[in-house]
Subunit: 120 residues, 2 copies
Amino acid sequence: MRDDMIMAALNELNSSSADIEASAVISTDGLVLSAILPQTMDEDRVGAMAAAMLSLGDRTASELARGNLEQVLIKGSAGYVLMMYAGENTVVSVVTNASAKLGLIFLDVKRSAEAISKLV
Amino acid sequence: MRDDMIMAALNELNSSSADIEASAVISTDGLVLSAILPQTMDEDRVGAMAAAMLSLGDRTASELARGNLEQVLIKGSAGYVLMMYAGENTVVSVVTNASAKLGLIFLDVKRSAEAISKLV
């Protein structure tokens, strides 16, 4: 039931923009709770990379006195990876292509993270 | 001479917004080439965190098929840390407070990175 609601929120996020290629709800220790991924993308790999980025992002925010970590964004030549906290121990992560409009993606992921934070 | 020009570009960046608390030009292996930092922020620590984030950002971009790493952004409750490539082995990094307007910061850092990429 709760799983279905998380998946529904993720479905809504994933369909909010054609630029979103993958989306997932991941615990901060790297376990994937729910995911919509293309066949080429491995769930465990997505979880592991998210956990590593969140751990180092947390350390960076702390070392440079930026408070509690809220988001990590990676921009590559072929697109973005965005992780946003949804509650204390969970993040919503999306992987987009390079033509994604960052402002819109932030908005969609934020809305989704707020909904999901009430479910986890 | 080249050092002076890098420092001038960094000065221009640092004064472009009151929300920028620190800025630095850092090699991808963590050596600080030039920096404008508050006394509370240690140069070696900034370099070390940047190198670690770039290394993991690179790995993430590659594992999730996002091409070559261009930027890493960390958002904390007290502000942002942004790293943007300026040439192949150098990044421009800024640390801002929480009221920074992200669009403006991206624009300013991008301009600065373009200028600095011609100097390194």
